[in-house]
């Protein structure tokens, strides 16, 4: 069995750690590229969301590299993701691409089924070894989030962001290559020290919150490197979704305690959105309120074109903006996004956010009383 799985940001490092320690042969996908998009778009339904198309492109590229099994997640909910695998499977088989798909449905559908599928994958390995593998992968997920968080914080503050970027890439590679938990932790400490020594500027950066659908938030290729763009424009970015927090919430059932800024923001969604709407709709609204309350200078929402939960979230923004007076910008992403357009919209948005922030500061310092 030569197994592969679709890309989502740095998730590949975590899943590879898991599968390799389970003794599986993993075919690592090439990084998502223009070619992936072209392959995916050619064979996907026209109005399917962007992640669907990228997934399909990923599979076809993996097939070229000799993979014969795909590991994919499923689900049951209003969001379309739950039916991805079945449609993708159909497309692949119509194309004559012979790949087996192992779809992990959430345990609330049928626990036994999940157990059987995992058993099918791991063969005769003991459950203890599975737990050890999960712990190892979890450690890598935490490390990645720590490294990323630091990158987001430092990018607008250091004098040479490209040097920082290089350190970040190196750290990721080392985490990916690390064979045990101590090495992983060592890499993180080392990265903290190295980045700490970089020369800083004194300017106070704007703070922007990033919310939206998980795939477009976590996958830099899908969001046209939104975080990097913002960072290089001198903005500190914080996002509503972190890989380890998401794993904890959805796969471990919130068993562990993962600290991150938006951890409790979901509750803030009411009164603007009073019902679960699938995907990350409620989180998007809640975290936007959270960012506004924590006095961020603006919030950017990312979503694939035609993403239903995000459209609902976007629809209630006017009510929210009325109460909080915070600049909001939404990007719907698909294969046609022109980068120049994105850059221009971002710059205009940031100008507005900066002007608002200056005005606020003047008011705070009492200058309103001058006239």
């Amino acid at each position: 069995m030569r197994i592969t799985y679709p890309h989502m940001g740095n998730l590949y490092i975590v899943v590879r750690a898991l599968l390799v320690s389970l003794g599986l042969e993993v075919v690592l996908l090439p990084q998502t590229s223009r070619r992936t998009v072209e392959l995916g778009v050619r064979y996907s339904p026209e109005f399917a969301c962007f992640p669907f198309k990228l997934n399909l492109g990923n599979y076809l590229e993996a097939h070229e590299k000799g993979a014969d099994t795909i590991l994919m997640a499923g689900g049951v909910g209003p969001c379309r993701f739950g039916y991805y695998a079945q449609v993708q499977q159909q497309i692949l088989s119509d194309l004559g691409v012979n790949m087996e798909m192992v779809v992990l449905e959430p345990p609330d559908v049928s626990f036994q089924e999940v157990k059987d599928k995992i058993r099918y994958l791991i063969g005769t390995l003991s459950w203890w070894q599975v737990i050890k593998a999960i712990r190892f992968a979890w450690c890598k997920a935490r490390a990645i989030d720590e490294v990323e968080g630091r990158l987001l914080y430092l990018r607008p503050r250091v004098e040479d962001p490209l040097r920082l970027e290089k350190l970040y890439r190196e750290a990721l590679q080392e985490i990916d290559g690390a064979g045990d938990r101590r090495t992983v932790q060592g890499v993180v400490v080392d990265y903290q020290q190295k980045t700490g020594k970089l020369k800083k500027q004194q300017k106070k950066p704007l703070r922007i919150g990033l919310v939206g659908e998980i795939f477009t938030v976590l996958e830099p290729f899908a969001n046209y490197e939104m975080e990097k763009r913002l960072g290089l424009l001198g903005v500190e970015v914080n996002r509503s979704i972190w890989l380890s927090a998401w794993i904890n919430e959805h796969l471990f059932g919130g068993l562990l305690r993962v600290k991150y800024e938006c951890a409790h923001d979901k509750e803030l969604a009411s009164p603007y959105l009073n019902s679960f709407v699938g995907g990350h709709g409620v989180e998007t609204v809640g975290c936007t309120v959270g960012f506004a309350r924590r006095d961020y200078d603006g919030v950017i929402q990312l979503a694939p074109l035609t993403c239903m939960p995000e459209i609902v979230a976007h629809s209630v923004f006017p009510a929210l903006a009325k109460d909080y007076d915070i600049p909001l910008l939404t990007f719907y992403l698909d294969e046609h996004s022109g980068e120049a357009g994105i850059q221009t919209r971002l710059e205009a948005f940031l100008d507005l956010a900066a002007a608002r922030s200056r005005k606020k500061e003047e008011q705070m310092s009492g200058s309103v009383f001058r006239n």
Partner: protein, 342 residues
């Protein structure tokens, strides 16, 4: 004198499934039901103005109807619809619609936005009973009146379903017209075209640009999913590799499969609206199955920009192709096997 409360019901989305139920319930409670007029240009424009451009056409139309009713009624009935069948969803937009309305339309009358949720074990009738009971409680304190109204409403809905199954087209069934004689043109065998699509697209003559009438004028007999029994649809949809967990998507897939296999149709038209989420995947499954089964299928995607002439041309071309196919692909098929050898 007690003023009679006016309840507004938008003529859009699930109106096409449940209007008899709603109408009967609120009338029995002693309210006056105000139904918005059939969709027209002004309503659509109003809807487009008050929503995001990304939402699908039927939701835009819904917003238009709500905006029309807003100044004319005391309450608006806009239920939050999560699940109408156990463990199956409709669409995120149906779940968030009361919130979307509140955020985007000014000066709304009080909304009756009780939740319809069949949960994990509920059934398609009980979930509505719960929703309407909650709605009734916000209008009157008379428990007895509510229960009586519920019973009458359920009967009205059953009656409506029965009429649909007897072969009546949905708009006639809703209006309560007697079953008309279907004119049979005995000289030539008419084409039988299956028309799949959400009722709120298919039966709204403005949105669908009178699609059914157009097909009839082209000499076709139109068969819609509403003429199928629920368990037929259920059975066909069960052949999918994974349980289809969208109620409306399941209806589409199930009736499409039924149409392909046993209705002796000459072709199928699938009407979808641009930006409909579940449809993007469902229509792909349907299209691929149609290809495997050698069934002519045309996808019509509509949005607010649709030009009528384009639709006319495509419909004419589609029906002509089918006629040619039946005529010429008989003995020496241009590709594949003969149509009549299937």
């Amino acid at each position: 004198m007690i003023r009679i409360k006016k309840i507004g019901i938008p003529r859009a989305l699930l109106y096409y499934y449940y209007y008899p139920l709603w109408y009967e319930f609120f009338t029995r409670l002693g309210c006056e039901v105000v139904l918005s007029p059939e969709t027209n240009k002004a309503i659509l424009d109003q809807g487009i103005k008050s929503t995001l451009s990304e939402v699908c056409l039927p939701v835009k139309v819904y917003f238009g109807h709500v905006a029309y009713l807003a100044g004319r009624v005391d309450y608006l009935f806009v239920p939050r619809i999560t699940r109408v069948e156990a463990k199956e969803y409709i669409c995120p937009k149906f779940m968030g619609i009361p919130d979307m309305l509140k955020a985007r339309i000014n000066k709304l009358p009080p909304l009756i936005d009780t939740t319809v949720d069949a949960g994990k074990e509920g059934n398609p009738v009980q979930c509505w009973v719960d929703c309407l009971r909650d709605a009734g409680n916000s209008l009157t304190a008379d428990r007895k009146l509510i229960e009586d109204a519920l019973e009458a409403a359920l009967q009205a809905q059953q009656f409506f379903w029965k009429r649909l199954n007897s072969g009546l087209m949905l708009p006639d069934a809703i209006k309560g017209i007697a079953i008309p004689e279907i004119p049979v043109n005995s000289s030539s065998k008419p084409l039988r075209i299956g028309l799949i699509g959400h009722p709120y697209n298919v039966y709204d003559p403005f949105i669908s640009m009178n699609l059914i009438k157009k097909l009839q004028q082209l000499g076709a007999v139109v068969v819609t999913p509403e003429s199928l029994q629920a368990d037929e649809i259920e059975k066909e949809a069960a052949s999918l590799p994974k349980r289809m967990f969208w109620t409306l998507g399941k209806r589409m897939v199930g009736s499409a499969f039924r149409f392909f296999s046993s209705q002796k149709l000459d072709g199928v038209i699938y009407l979808t609206s641009f930006g409909c989420g579940p449809e993007a995947l469902v229509e792909e499954l349907v299209a691929r199955t149609a290809k495997h089964q050698n069934m002519p299928l045309m996808m019509l995607t509509i949005d607010e920009h649709t030009g009528e002439a384009g639709i006319n041309t495509r419909l004419e071309a589609f029906t002509e192709m089918i006629v040619w196919r039946l005529k010429y692909a008989n003995h020496i098929p241009p590709y594949g096997e003969s149509v009549h050898c299937r």
